[in-house]
C-alpha cells in the first residue's frame, strides 16, 4: 500500500519539480526523503558544491551525481588567507580535474576557492570539456599565464573567466592574444590580480570590442588611465568595471575623454580598481555614480574629503569597500547619503603602525549602524572599541548577518572602562538573531563565549584570536552553537578537555582550525582514534609530534569531517591521526 504512494508521481514529474530547487541545502534535503527521491535527485543534480575538497573523493562525487554540469570546490582553510597554513599543505585540484576529464566531457562550470591549480590542470580543462563556459578561481595559486593561454585558445564557448585574488605566475602578457579572432562569447573577465607590468592593450581592446555580450570587466593595475577610455568605448554595455591605475598627469583632454566615455556607460552598476588614485580624475566617474550599487575603493589611497565627495554622489550604494582614510567623518556622510547600504568593509591603511594614522574609531561604525537600516554585513578594522558602542551598534542594527570586527592590537580592552569587550560582543549575538558569521577581537574572557553559546543559534562561522581564559570558552561554543559549521581559532588557551568532551560535535561541522593553542598531541591521537569520520591533521613545522612529549601542544590542528578517509597527498609537516596506528605519516 505504501509502495503505491511512493510511485504515485512518475519520475519525470518529480524531476521537473526538483529542477526548481537550486540550493544545495534543499537538494540535500530532498535526497533524504526516501530512496526513490534520492535516486531521482542524484540523476538530475546539475550543480555540485563540495565545501571541503578532502571531505569526499572525486570518484564518490562522480558516482553519486552522474550528470552534473557545474562543480564548486573549496580547498585550504580560511586562515590560509593570512599565511597561517604553510605552503604545500594541500588543496590540489588535479585529482578532481583528472577524474572529471574522463567522466564528464560535458562539464561546463568549475569554481574553485583556495586551491592549488596547475597549468597542466588548466590545459586538461581546455582539452577535455568541449562546452566549457565558466572558470572562477578565487584565491587560488600554482598556475601561470601559460595555463590561461590554453583556456583562451581552446574554450570556444567560454563565458566567464574570473581570477579573483589569485597568485598567478605572470610569464607573458600575450596569453590574451590566444583568444581566437572568432571568439566572441565572453561575458565576464576579471584579471585584476595579474601583476605584470605589461598588458597587451591592443589584444585587450580587440577582445573587448568583439565580445558584445561583455558585462563584467575588471582590469589589473598595469592598465594605465589613458587606456581606459578606449576600452570603455568598445564596451558601453558594461555593468561591472574595474579600472587599473587611476592616476596620470592631469590633462584636460584625457579627463574629458574619460568623463565622456563614462557617461555613455548607462548600465554601469559596479566600479572597482582605483589603484593610486589621482583625486582630480575622480569626478570623471560622477556621471555613473547615481546608478552605482557597488564601489570598491579599498586600494584608493585618497583622503577623507575626496572620499566624502565621491560617496555623496552615490545614493544607491549597496556595497562599499574602502580604506580607513574615510575616517569617522566620512562614515557619517555615508550614513546619511546611502540608505540602501547593505555591506561595508573598512580596511586599515597602516596596519602595522603603532599609532593611529587616521581618525577612524568606533564612532564611524556606530554612525553607519544607525543611519543605514539595511546594513547586514560589516568588516571593520579599527584601533579602539567600547562595550557601549557595541551595544549601541547591536541595538541599532539587529539585522546583521555578518559582523567581523578587527581591533588591530590584540587584547585591546574597552578604551572607556578598560574592561573586556565581552558584554559588547554579547549584545551583538543577543540582538542579532540571524547572525551567521562573527569575528571577534579585543580583550575577551570566557564570558563572551558563554554569550555566544547561549545566543548565537544561527551562527555558522566563528573566528577567534587572542581570546578566552580556559577550555570553558571553547566548550561554550561547541556545546551551544547549534548551527556552527566552521570554527577557526588562533592563540587562545584552549586545550584538550573541551575538544574531547565535544568530539561528536565536530562531525556536525565542516571544520575546526586551532593554531597556537594548547591542544596536546595525545589528545589529537585520541580524537583520531575515536572518531573515524574525522580527519585530525596535526600541522607542525618543528618536526614530528612524537619527537616531543605527548602532552606538548601541537602547533596547528585542522579537523574536518570526511567520508573519504585520510588523505595521501600530505607534505612532510602534516600528520593525520589515524584509527589504526594513532599516527599516520
Amino acid at each position: 500500500m505504501h509502495k503505491k504512494m511512493a510511485f504515485s508521481f512518475p519520475d519525470e514529474v518529480l524531476e521537473h519539480v526538483f529542477s526548481f530547487i537550486q540550493s544545495d541545502k534543499d537538494r540535500n534535503a530532498v535526497s533524504m526523503v526516501c530512496k526513490s527521491w534520492y535516486e531521482i535527485e542524484r540523476w538530475c543534480r546539475r550543480k555540485v558544491f563540495v565545501g571541503n575538497c578532502y571531505a569526499v573523493s572525486p570518484r564518490m562525487v562522480i558516482r553519486r551525481f552522474p550528470e552534473f554540469r557545474s562543480i564548486e570546490l573549496k580547498g585550504k582553510p580560511h586562515f590560509a588567507d593570512f599565511n597561517l597554513v604553510p605552503d604545500g599543505w594541500g588543496g590540489y585540484v588535479s585529482p578532481w580535474i583528472e577524474e572529471m576529464a574522463g567522466a564528464y566531457p560535458w562539464l561546463e562550470e568549475i569554481r574553485l576557492k583556495r586551491m592549488v591549480v596547475t597549468d597542466e590542470s588548466l590545459e586538461l580543462i581546455a582539452k577535455s570539456f568541449k562546452n566549457f563556459k565558466v572558470l572562477v578561481l578565487s584565491s587560488c595559486e600554482g598556475f601561470s599565464t601559460d595555463g590561461l593561454a590554453a583556456i583562451a585558445a581552446s574554450c570556444k564557448n567560454l563565458k566567464e573567466l574570473d581570477l579573483r585574488d589569485c597568485e598567478v605566475d605572470d610569464l607573458s602578457a600575450h596569453w590574451l592574444s590566444h583568444f581566437p579572432e572568432t571568439y566572441t562569447s565572453l561575458v565576464s573577465l576579471n584579471i585584476s590580480c595579474l601583476g605584470s607590468d605589461e598588458v597587451s592593450f591592443s589584444a585587450l581592446e580587440r577582445l573587448v570590442g568583439r565580445c558584445t555580450n561583455l558585462k563584467t570587466l575588471r582590469l589589473n593595475r598595469a592598465v594605465p588611465l589613458d587606456k581606459i577610455a578606449n576600452i570603455l568605448r568598445h564596451a558601453p554595455q558594461l555593468v561591472e568595471f574595474g579600472t587599473g591605475t587611476y592616476t596620470a598627469d592631469v590633462r584636460p583632454d584625457v579627463y574629458s575623454d574619460l568623463a565622456g566615455v563614462f557617461s555613455s556607460c548607462k548600465e554601469l552598476k559596479s566600479l572597482s580598481g582605483f589603484w593610486d588614485v589621482a583625486p582630480d580624475y575622480l569626478p570623471a566617474i560622477y556621471p555613473v555614480c547615481s546608478k552605482l550599487t557597488s564601489l570598491n575603493l579599498s586600494y584608493a589611497t585618497i583622503q577623507s574629503p575626496d572620499l566624502i565627495k565621491l560617496v555623496s554622489h552615490c545614493p544607491n550604494l549597496q556595497r562599499l569597500l574602502v580604506l580607513d582614510y574615510i575616517e569617522d567623518s566620512g562614515l557619517e556622510v555615508l550614513a546619511s547619503s546611502c540608505k540602501d547600504l547593505q555591506e561595508l568593509r573598512v580596511f586599515p591603511s597602516d596596519p602595522y603602525g603603532a599609532e593611529p594614522n587616521v581618525s577612524l574609531t568606533e564612532q564611524g561604525l556606530v554612525a553607519v549602524s544607525l543611519g543605514c537600516p539595511k546594513l547586514q554585513s560589516v568588516l571593520y578594522f579599527c584601533r579602539r572599541m567600547s562595550n557601549e558602542a557595541l551595544v549601541t551598534i547591536a541595538r541599532n542594527r539587529p539585522n546583521f548577518t555578518r559582523f567581523r570586527l578587527c581591533i588591530i592590537e590584540p587584547k585591546t580592552a574597552d578604551y572607556l572602562t578598560l574592561e573586556p569587550l565581552d558584554v559588547g560582543f554579547g549584545a551583538i549575538v543577543q540582538y542579532c538573531k540571524d547572525l551567521k558569521r562573527l569575528s571577534l577581537s579585543g580583550l575577551l574572557t570566557d564570558r563572551v563565549f558563554e554569550y555566544i553559546g547561549t545566543y548565537a543559534k544561527k551562527l555558522e562561522m566563528l573566528s577567534v584570536a587572542f581570546a578566552g581564559d580556559s577550555d570553558l570558552g571553547l566548550h561554550h561554543v561547541l556545546s551551544g552553537c547549534e548551527s556552527l559549521r566552521k570554527l577557526e581559532i588562533r592563540d587562545c588557551p584552549f586545550g584538550d578537555k573541551a575538544l574531547l568532551a565535544n568530539a561528536a560535535k565536530l562531525e556536525t561541522m565542516r571544520s575546526l582550525w586551532m593554531s597556537s593553542c594548547a591542544v596536546s598531541f595525545a589528545a589529537c591521537k585520541l580524537l583520531g582514534q575515536k572518531m573515524p569520520r574525522l580527519n585530525v591533521e596535526v600541522i607542525d613545522e618543528r618536526g614530528p609530534p612524537d619527537s616531543r612529549p605527548e602532552n606538548c601542544p601541537v602547533d596547528k590542528l585542522y579537523i574536518y569531517r570526511s567520508i573519504a578517509g585520510p588523505r595521501f597527498d600530505m607534505p612532510p609537516f602534516v600528520w593525520t591521526m589515524d584509527e589504526d596506528s594513532g599516527l599516520r605519516l
Partner: protein
C-alpha cells in the same frame, strides 16, 4: 555553574587515561604538567615545551592583523613612495645580463645621473648637444615616457624628465640612430 559540570569527562568516554581511572590520575608522570584548566597558562605550557624564552613580539605575529597579502603589498608600495619619496626606475643596458634600479630623486640633474649610470654600467656617456644628441660614445641613454614612447635623455628640463621617466635604457649607438645620434 552548570557548564562546568557539563565538562564531565567521565560521562563521555573520551579522556586521557584507562577506563576506571579518575581525572586526578591523568597527570602523566613527566616533569611537564598538563595545562591547568583554571589558569591561562595553556599558552605558557606551550612555551615551556618549546623552551621558548619570550612571547612573540608584535612584529613577529604571523597573520595579524588578518589582511590578505595582496592588500599589504598594495599599501606597502604606496607607503614606500610616500615616505621616502623615491622614484625608482629600472635601468637596462644592451648586452648587460641583468637590470638595475635607481632612484631618480637622489640626483640633482643630468650630470649626476650620468655619472651614476657610468659607474654602474662601466661605460661613458657621450657629449650632449641639442642638435646632434650624444657624440663620442657608443652608448646613448634613452628613456620610456608615460606615453610609452622611447625618448633621448636630456632634451627636457630635469624636473619634467624625472616625472615622465618610467624606465631607462642605455642603447648601443648603432640602434640609437633614429634618436638623432651621430656615431
Amino acid at each position: 555553574m552548570v557548564l562546568e559540570k557539563d565538562l564531565n569527562l567521565d560521562a563521555t568516554e573520551l579522556r586521557l587515561g584507562l577506563p576506571g581511572s579518575s581525572e586526578e590520575s591523568l597527570r602523566i608522570s613527566n616533569k611537564r604538567a598538563l595545562p591547568n584548566m583554571n589558569d591561562d597558562s595553556g599558552v605558557a605550557a606551550a612555551k615551556k615545551c618549546d623552551q621558548e624564552t619570550a612571547p612573540p613580539t608584535k612584529a613577529q605575529v604571523v597573520g595579524w592583523p588578518p589582511i590578505r597579502s595582496y592588500r599589504k603589498n598594495s599599501l606597502q608600495t604606496k607607503k614606500t613612495e610616500a615616505e621616502t619619496g623615491g622614484m625608482y626606475v629600472k635601468v637596462s643596458m644592451d648586452g648587460a645580463p641583468y637590470l638595475r634600479k635607481i632612484d631618480l630623486k637622489v640626483y640633482k640633474g643630468y650630470p649626476e645621473l650620468f655619472k651614476a649610470l657610468e659607474d654602474m654600467f662601466k661605460f661613458k656617456v657621450g657629449k650632449y648637444s641639442e642638435r646632434e644628441g650624444y657624440n663620442g660614445s657608443e652608448f646613448v641613454p634613452t628613456y620610456e615616457d608615460k606615453d610609452g614612447d622611447w625618448m633621448l635623455v636630456g632634451d627636457v628640463p630635469w624636473e619634467m624628465f624625472i616625472n615622465a621617466c618610467k624606465r631607462l635604457r642605455i642603447v648601443r649607438g648603432s640602434e640609437a640612430r633614429g634618436l638623432g645620434c651621430v656615431v
